[in-house]
Subunit: 226 residues, 2 copies
């Protein structure tokens, strides 16, 4: 479902060149549950952004769901993301003027779903993440961990083929984090949804069936949970 | 140095009343190193915001460094914060158009410090948090954990009497997190700087000499590290 071939990603700051990713190749099948870990600045977010077609590599090729996306227009990339991919960003990216309900409803509106069906799905996912009672709160009326869970609900409500999650439990207490991971695992097992998440937490890594270790933009080694 | 008496904090959303803090009383001495923990939504950020005079309680009294701050004007509160308190926010609050250096320099400019002295201090603290080489990067050119460390550097550069840190290591890998906590501990021991930090991480809690447990806005119990 994902094929990255010899990906490089470089940034230029004045005269300085920064290598965020270096010769990364990956092959990920549908239904995998993968963790990416590594020190701060090692390239995790950059990698997730490239897989999610939110950024383009300096070199290399990207295939997502059998499609060569390197030369896709912005409109086609946007359409692919809306149809197939759920994102949980490190910075949540909630829309400040929309309520919890409206933020989670939004991707379903983009898919053209009917109102009543949307409402059922939004209520169900908000209950799963423990935020049904906060459905009218706007993001600035929520705690950090509550905002994180809204972002999680928004990513999962469309039952995407692929979910990319950047440190999805970083701001959650242990119990809430476990509830979220159990939800993700359930979606993986019941719907064959592919999950790739970055994390710093060894407890979270235990859920992954495969672990990629990044360091200075390179995949150092892969681990497999025994 | 901090005295909270029977603090309540309530929000109103339409007809709904939300209790973020309920009858919280605290007495904190100079030089303490305290952790506040609790589930998502339990009131940690609200408590830190009130201690830091960034928010006012619905009821109760707040004394910071012997001053009754309840009736202070915004200008006086701002002056008190600039002089005495360093903040590490859950959302970092970096100024997007300023570089790493300029973000960390800013509180020193507000204190009227001379340029050469400011430069030395900024370079020193950026080296301590491992970001000297990123001093020209703007926040959108940094990873999540790098931004967190800029926020930490900015909070600590003035050698404040009090540092309030809201989940300061949430987005950091273990090694980087330990380096940050060691730096904080050093400031606590050498400069008698008071630290209050919220966290979900049991490893981080181990650094604290006293732990307050919040649940649904109430302090459930205090623990003391043996
Ligand atoms: N501006 C606001 N308006 C309405 N409710 C709010 C507001 N800010 C916070 N709350 C609510 O008050 C409660 C406490 O929020 P607070 O941010 O202090 O929690 P927290 O312990 O920091 O949580 P987290 O671990 O998720 O960061 C939450 O239920 C939250 O929804
Ligand atoms: N827009 C940009 N311009 C310049 N450099 C960037 C940019 N975005 C990221 N970088 C740099 O690329 C490297 C990788 O960044 P990335 O965000 O992928 O790291 P990360 O592994 O997600 O780190 P963290 O754990 O701190 O979130 C970092 O050194 C970062 O400073
Ligand atoms: Mg990142
Ligand atoms: Mg909080």
């Amino acid at each position: 479902i994902i094929n990255l071939k010899n990906i490089d990603k470089e940034y230029k700051l004045g005269q300085t060149k920064i290598t965020a990713l270096k010769d990364v190749s990956l092959d990920i099948q549908a239904g995998e549950f993968i963790s990416v870990c590594g020190p701060s600045g090692s390239g995790k977010t950059t990698l997730l952004n490239i897989i999610g077609c939110l950024d383009t590599p300096t070199k290399g090729n990207v295939k997502i769901i059998e499609k060569d996306v390197i030369n896709y227009s912005d409109a086609k990339l946007s359409e692919l993301r809306n149809k197939y991919i759920g994102f949980i960003f490190q910075s949540f990216n909630l829309i400040p003027v929309l309520s919890t309900f409206e933020n989670v409803d939004y991707p379903l509106v983009l898919l053209g779903m009917k109102k009543k069906q949307r409402q059922e799905k939004v209520h169900a996912i908000l209950s799963e993440v423990g935020l049904y009672d906060h459905k009218k709160h706007r993001p600035d009326e929520l705690s950090g961990g509550q905002r994180q869970r809204v972002a999680i609900a928004r990513a999962l409500v469309t039952n995407p083929k692929l979910v990319l999650a950047d440190e999805p439990t970083a701001n959650l207490d242990h119990k809430t984090g476990v509830a979220i991971l159990d939800l993700m695992q359930k979606m993986n097992e019941e719907h064959n949804c592919t999950f790739i998440f970055s994390t710093h937490d060894p407890e979270v890594m235990k859920y992954a069936k495969k672990i990629y270790h990044l360091r200075d933009g390179e995949i150092q080694k892969q681990g497999k949970r025994s």
